[in-house]
C-alpha cells in the first residue's frame, strides 16, 4: 500500500450550527498536497457551508460550534479576520458556486482579477493586468485584451465562471476549494479547466477540494471522494473503490440515478424515494434511515459511526454487509 504524504488540509470533526441544528455535523477529511478530494452529496447537505468555513466566510446565521480546520499546523478556524484576509487567495482560495453573486457588477473583470493579484503581490497595475491577461488565456477565454475591459454583465455565464476561476488561481494558492466550478461550462471547456487543475496539482502540488454534482467530473479528476448526506459524512473512499463498490446505500442509489445511455428517453429516471430531512427533523439515528431500503430499528435509534473498511474506505452504515441487496434494488 502506498504511504500517503502528510496532509496539507485537515478538516477535523467540523460542526456548524444554524438555529441550533447541526447542519454540518462532525465532518472530517484530509487532503494531501497534489491530491484532489471530491465532495459530493444531495443538494443542501452542507457542502458549501463546509467550504465557506475553510475560508472564514460563513454567513452570519451559521456558527462553527466544534472541530478544527488545519492548514498544516495553523488552525484556520482560529484566525482573526485580518489574518484570514492574508491567507485567502495565497494559502487557500475558493471558486464560488454562483459567479454572478460573487463578482462585482460595477468593476471590470480585468480590474477584479488584477486586484486579487495585487492584494498579495503588490506591483504595478500594468504588471497585474498582464498576469490577468495570461490567466484568461489559461482558462480559455478568447480575445482576452477586450474581455479584460468588460463588465460581468457583458460576459456569458460560463465566462463569468471562468473569471471566478481566474481570481481564485491568480495567486497560486496551496489549497483550492472549488464549489461547482464547471457547471456553466460546456464539456470541451470543462475538460480544459479540469486539465488546468490537473496541471496545478501535478506541477505545484496544489491540494484541491472539489465540490461537484457531476459524477463524470469526479471520475475524471478525483483521487478520493467524500459523500455527504444531511450534514454528515456518509462515505469516504478512493475514487475507484467508490465507483466499483460503494459501501453506503445513499452512494449506491446516487450512482444509480445517473442517466444511463441505454435508458429509454423520457421514461422515469431512478430517484431516491422521499425527501432529505430538514435540520429540525434530524433525529438521533442515521439521517438516511427513512429513505433507505436497508433500514432497521437500530438505524432509527442510533447514528452509525464511520466504520473503517480498510484501504482508506470508510462508511457510516450499520449494514455494510448487506450492500448486495442495494445493488439489486438499484439495478
Amino acid at each position: 500500500m502506498e504511504v500517503s504524504p502528510s496532509p496539507l488540509l485537515t478538516v477535523d470533526s467540523l460542526t456548524i450550527d444554524i438555529a441550533g441544528a447541526h447542519v454540518v455535523d462532525d465532518v472530517s477529511f484530509t487532503v494531501a498536497p497534489g491530491r484532489v478530494m471530491a465532495l459530493v452529496g444531495e443538494s443542501g447537505c452542507g457542502k458549501s457551508l463546509t467550504s465557506y468555513a475553510m475560508l472564514g466566510l460563513l454567513p452570519p446565521a451559521a456558527k462553527r460550534t466544534g472541530g478544527r480546520i488545519m492548514l498544516e499546523n495553523t488552525d484556520l478556524a482560529c484566525l482573526t479576520e485580518r489574518q484570514f484576509r492574508k491567507a485567502r487567495g495565497k494559502d487557500i482560495s475558493i471558486i464560488f458556486q454562483e459567479p454572478s453573486a460573487s463578482l462585482d457588477p460595477l468593476s471590470t473583470v480585468g480590474t477584479q482579477i488584477a486586484e486579487a493579484f495585487r492584494a498579495h503581490h503588490g506591483g504595478s497595475k500594468a504588471e497585474a493586468f498582464e498576469k490577468a491577461r495570461q490567466m484568461l488565456v489559461d482558462v480559455g477565454i478568447p480575445d482576452p485584451n477586450r474581455r479584460l475591459h468588460q463588465y460581468p454583465f457583458e460576459l456569458s455565464g460560463g465566462m463569468c465562471q471562468r473569471i471566478m476561476i481566474s481570481i481564485a488561481l491568480i495567486c497560486g494558492p496551496r489549497v483550492l476549494v472549488a464549489d461547482e466550478p464547471t457547471t456553466a461550462l460546456d464539456v470541451t471547456i470543462q475538460a480544459q479547466i479540469l486539465d488546468l487543475m490537473k496541471k496545478l496539482v501535478a506541477e505545484r502540488g496544489t491540494a484541491i477540494v472539489l465540490i461537484t454534482h457531476d459524477m463524470g467530473v469526479v471520475a475524471d479528476i478525483a483521487d478520493d471522494v467524500a459523500v455527504m448526506y444531511a450534514g454528515r459524512m456518509a462515505e469516504i473512499a478512493p475514487v475507484h473503490a467508490l465507483f466499483r463498490e460503494p459501501k453506503h446505500p445513499y452512494t449506491a442509489l446516487l450512482l444509480a440515478s445517473v442517466p444511463k445511455l441505454d435508458h429509454a428517453p423520457k421514461a422515469d429516471l431512478a430517484t431516491i424515494e422521499g425527501m432529505v430531512p430538514t435540520p429540525s427533523e434530524f433525529g438521533v439515528g442515521c439521517r438516511f434511515h427513512d429513505r433507505c431500503p436497508l433500514s432497521t430499528d437500530k438505524c432509527r435509534s442510533e447514528a452509525p459511526p464511520l466504520f473503517d473498511c480498510g484501504d482508506g474506505h470508510r462508511s457510516a452504515c450499520w449494514h455494510i454487509d448487506r450492500m448486495a441487496e442495494i445493488r439489486a434494488v438499484a439495478a
Partner: protein
Amino acid sequence: MSEQKNVLEIRDVAVHFGGNGGLFGKSGAVVKAVNGVTLDIVRGETVALVGESGCGKSTLSNTIVGLQQPVAGSVKIGGEEVVGADRKKLNDIRRKVQMIFQDPALSLDPRSTIGATIGEPLIVRGVAKGKALKERVGALLAQVGLRPEHADRYPHQFSGGQRQRVVIARALALEPDLVICDEPVSALDVSVRAQILNLLVALQKRTGVSYLFVSHDLGVVRHICDRVVVMYLGRFVEIADRDTFFANPKHPYTKALMSAVPEADPEVQRSKERLILGGELPSPANIPSGCAFHTRCPLATEICGRERPELTVRDDGARVACHHA
C-alpha cells in the same frame, strides 16, 4: 402543418452587442452574439440547445422572452410577435412563456420570501389567493422536492441547488405553454436532478408544454429532448432528432463535444481518447470568415475559410452546416 401547432417560431434572428458608441461600446467592436437563426418548436416538444460557452444560447433565450431586442428577425410565441411588442402585449405573451434563468442568484428577489416569489404570478394572474394560494405554493414546493414550510424562508437561507428549485417552481406555477430552461438542472445533484427531470416530463405529458432546453449535459439532453440544436458562434451548425443525433453526429464540432463528455466511471474515463480541438479560440467580435469553425476544425480545407456552409438536409433528416461532414 397548421400554424397553431408551433408554439415558437424563430425566423432569422440576429442579436448584436456594442459598436454603437454606447457607454460600454468603447472598444467599438460589434459582438454578433446571435447571427441569423431559425427554429420552430411544436406543442409538446422538447428541443435542446447545446454549444460552447459564449456561443449565444442565453442571448437567444433572452430574446425569445422579449428581454433582449434583436437587430433583425422575428420571434413568435403562439403566433404572436414578440419583437417590438409593447409592454401590454409582452405581458400577455409572457403568460404563455416562462424562463428558468441560468443563475438562480440573479433571478430571485433577496427581500421576498420564496412563498411570495412563487405566489406572485398566481396572484397577478388572479389564479389563486388566500388559503388556496398557500396550498398551491406548498404543492409547487413539494413538486420540486422542497417543503411547504420553506415558503417563509428567504433565498439566502437556501443552498444553491435549493434556490434553483425555487426558480423552477415559480416557472411552472402558471402551467405555461413554453418554458425556456437555461441550464435548469446543472446545480442539482443527480438524484434531485432525476426528480426534476421526471417532473418536467410528467408536466409535459399532462399539459403538452414545450421546452427549449439549454444544457451542457448531453446525458440529460439525451434523456429529455426530442430534438437537438448545436450552436457555434451565433449560428446553428447541426439540427437533428435525438436518436439520429446521438447515433450519428456529423458536424466536427458536435463530434468534439461528444468526445469530451466525461463518463461516470473512472476506469473508462481515464483511458478514453479525447478529440482535442486545436487552434485559437475565435472571438465573437471577430468571427472567422467562411465557416466560423474552420480555425479549429480537423477537416478544414481551403473552401472552409472562404465560403460559409449553409444548413443542408442529409439522408437521415439531420441538417448540418459543413462542407465536409
